[in-house]
């Protein structure tokens, strides 16, 4: 157990060194550079163009319902894994296969509904 955590010591030392380099560089920069802020300099830099509008931008997310569906269906696939471990074991077989198709049938009914409601077409 001891050695297990000790093997992480190198990682910790590396993190410290890395952080030290970045922090040291920024600190040196801060100490050496002149600091005379004006209102002009404090505006957000946007390729030399004055920034317009607020920080919240409204973007139109196409297809987001599709991604919701994807999340649900992708996660529902976890039930296939325990099924797959016993499927080929003796004593299971066709009935087990049929049961999985019942499950998939329920999912397919959901997709069919979504398709008929026009969720799956690009808007």
């Amino acid at each position: 157990m001891r050695t297990y955590f000790e093997s992480y010591a190198v990682l910790g030392a590396l993190l410290l060194v890395g952080g030290g380099i970045v922090a040291g560089g920024l600190a040196a920069n801060r100490l050496l550079r002149p600091n005379r802020p004006t209102a002009e300099k404090l505006t957000t830099y946007e390729c030399g163009v004055d920034p317009v509008g607020e920080n919240w931008a409204h973007s139109y997310v196409r297809y987001y319902v599709f991604s919701y569906l994807y999340v649900v269906f992708a996660v529902d696939a976890v039930f296939l894994f325990p099924w797959a471990t016993v499927f080929s074991a003796p004593g299971y077989g066709m009935t087990t296969l049929g049961e999985m198709f019942v499950f998939l049938g329920f999912l397919a009914a959901g997709l069919l509904y979504a398709g008929k409601k026009g969720v799956l077409s690009w808007v």
């Binding site: 074991a89 003796p90 004593g91 299971y92 009935t95 087990t96 329920f106 009914a109 959901g110 069919l112 509904y113 008929k116 409601k117």
Partner: protein, 495 residues
């Protein structure tokens, strides 16, 4: 190795599941709204018939552990259809039929998508039916979520309505957080006992080594928290008034009757079958929760002036009464569970009745839904439509627990007796005080019905389904007031 499934035992949820899928597809292929409503109510009625057919038979259990994995332990079935289960399934289904009746008009008025509405109602009812039959923690969690998830969507289904989506977000956040807390509790109980089936958890808790004692105790309290949300008990009660106000009214009725009844059944199952060994921990916790819930609910109900918020706070207070018998711990626990069950059954009838009248009354505003009914709007209802006013007054008197509303009085006495018999006298005293506070606001509302009118007229046409619902609830209330022992006998036989 393949397990046989007792399809008769799972018939009620199975019928609804098939109907729900059919309904969804029918809606996708543009079936008319009337047909969808008929299908929804019809499948609920079919499930109710299935429950009635199962009732005289023996206890059925399915999804049991196969012999090879049992290792000498008990039978450990996940789904059990015994008398207790069937009684609660009957309550849930009957209430759901009434909710669907109440919804039909609301769907047209508020422009709610009909297919989705009925599908979600059926899905939530499936969750409730499974919850009351679940005898292991995994199925319990899944059923609880199946009950909760569709309700979030139902609450927010009225489109482009700020209050509805706000109510949905509030319900969602509180529900999901309490579910996470409950899951953590279950993980602790599982860690301490190594079992998920309640008939294995209970003996394991009895012979728990002393160093695991705090783990199991913490787990049990966290599991309680999850159910406290479902039944709107105090630390998790504040969603109730906001959600009832923002949601379509039939959904509020669903939350306050169906969802609450299932929550109480789940709580009773977990406490009585799973954790009796820790009654010295959860007994006092439930007692304090019950006392705080009923007091806070009643005090806040006093200062409400809209009908729906008053009903919301009163249903919080009623949750307190229902929790009270469970505070006895393992002393005379079966009696306590019977008392809670009886109260839930009677409460379902009178609360649904009150909601039905309020829903019919709310129609008066037509499409303009900015204002909610204040209690003053109910002035003069007795003159413009005496039958509806009499029904509402009767429901309110029942909820208050005064004669002639014998069923309410009877429910309170049953709960009171179970609490005293279990030796929790202080809670009985708190209950008595609260009943008196409750009298005030119910009677003030009832009295307003008979004062002179305020000018606003109630055009007595809430639609046939709503009238049928009011009539059914009123008939049931009158019958149960004349012969309240029906409920007690059924409940005592079942538990």
């Amino acid at each position: 190795m393949i397990q046989g499934i007792d399809y008769a035992a799972i018939a009620p949820p199975l019928i609804l599941a098939v109907a729900a899928i059919g309904l969804l597809l029918a809606d996708a292929f543009d079936a008319p709204r009337r047909l969808l409503g008929l299908l929804s109510a019809g499948s609920l009625a079919a499930a109710l018939i299935a429950v009635a057919a199962l009732a005289p038979g023996d206890r059925r259990a399915t999804f049991c552990l196969p012999d090879g994995l049992r290792s000498g332990g008990p039978r450990s079935c996940s789904y059990v259809a015994d008398d207790f289960t069937l009684l609660f399934q009957g309550i849930v289904l009957a209430a759901a039929v009434v909710v669907v009746l109440l919804s039909l008009q609301e769907i047209t008025d508020s422009d709610i998508p009909a297919g989705e509405y009925h599908f979600l109602i059926l899905a939530a009812v499936i969750g409730a039916l499974t919850l009351v039959a679940a005898r292991d923690l995994v199925l319990l969690v899944v059923a609880l979520e199946t009950l909760s998830l569709p309700v979030f969507a139902l609450v927010g289904l009225r489109r482009y309505d700020g209050t509805a989506s706000e109510a949905a977000l509030k319900l969602f956040l509180v529900s999901v957080v309490s579910a996470a807390v409950m899951l953590f509790g279950i993980s602790l109980v599982y860690g301490a006992t190594g079992a998920m089936h309640l008939d294995r958890v209970a003996p394991a808790l009895e012979r728990l080594p002393a160093d695991l004692d705090p783990v199991a105790a913490a787990g049990i309290v966290l599991v309680l928290a999850g159910f406290a949300f479902k039944v709107a008990a105090v630390p998790f009660h504040f969603w109730a008034p906001d959600v009832y106000q923002g949601a379509p009214l039939p959904v509020a009725a669903f939350l306050s009757v169906v969802s609450k009844a299932a929550g109480f059944a789940g709580l009773a199952i977990v406490l009585a079958l799973g954790f009796p060994a820790y009654a010295h921990i959860w007994g006092p916790v439930v007692g304090v929760l019950a006392a705080v819930t009923m007091t806070l609910g009643n005090l806040l109900a006093l200062r409400q002036n809209t009908a729906i918020r008053l009903l919301a706070w009163s249903s919080v207070a009623q949750s307190g009464y229902m929790l009270a018998p469970l505070a006895v711990g393992d002393r005379r626990l079966p009696e306590a569970v019977a008392a809670t069950t009886a109260y839930v059954a009677l409460y379902a009838v009178m609360n649904l009745g009150a909601f039905a009248v309020v829903i019919g009354f709310n129609r008066r505003h037509g499409s303009v839904r900015t204002a909610y009914d204040t209690l003053d709007d109910y002035r003069g209802l007795a003159r413009s439509s005496p039958a509806v006013a009499a029904a509402l007054a009767f429901f309110l008197i029942c909820l208050a627990g005064l004669p002639p509303g014998v069923m309410g009085l009877f429910a309170k006495i049953v709960v009171f007796r179970a609490t005293v018999a279990g030796g929790v006298t202080w809670l009985a005293v708190v209950m008595a005080i609260n009943t008196v506070i409750g009298l005030y606001y119910y009677l003030v509302w009832a009295a307003r019905l008979f004062t002179a009118g305020s000018g606003a007229r109630y055009d007595a046409a809430p639609g046939l389904p709503v009238r049928a619902a009011v009539a059914a609830a009123a008939t049931a209330a009158v019958v149960l007031s004349i012969a309240p022992q029906i409920v007690l006998q059924t409940v005592t036989n079942a538990t």
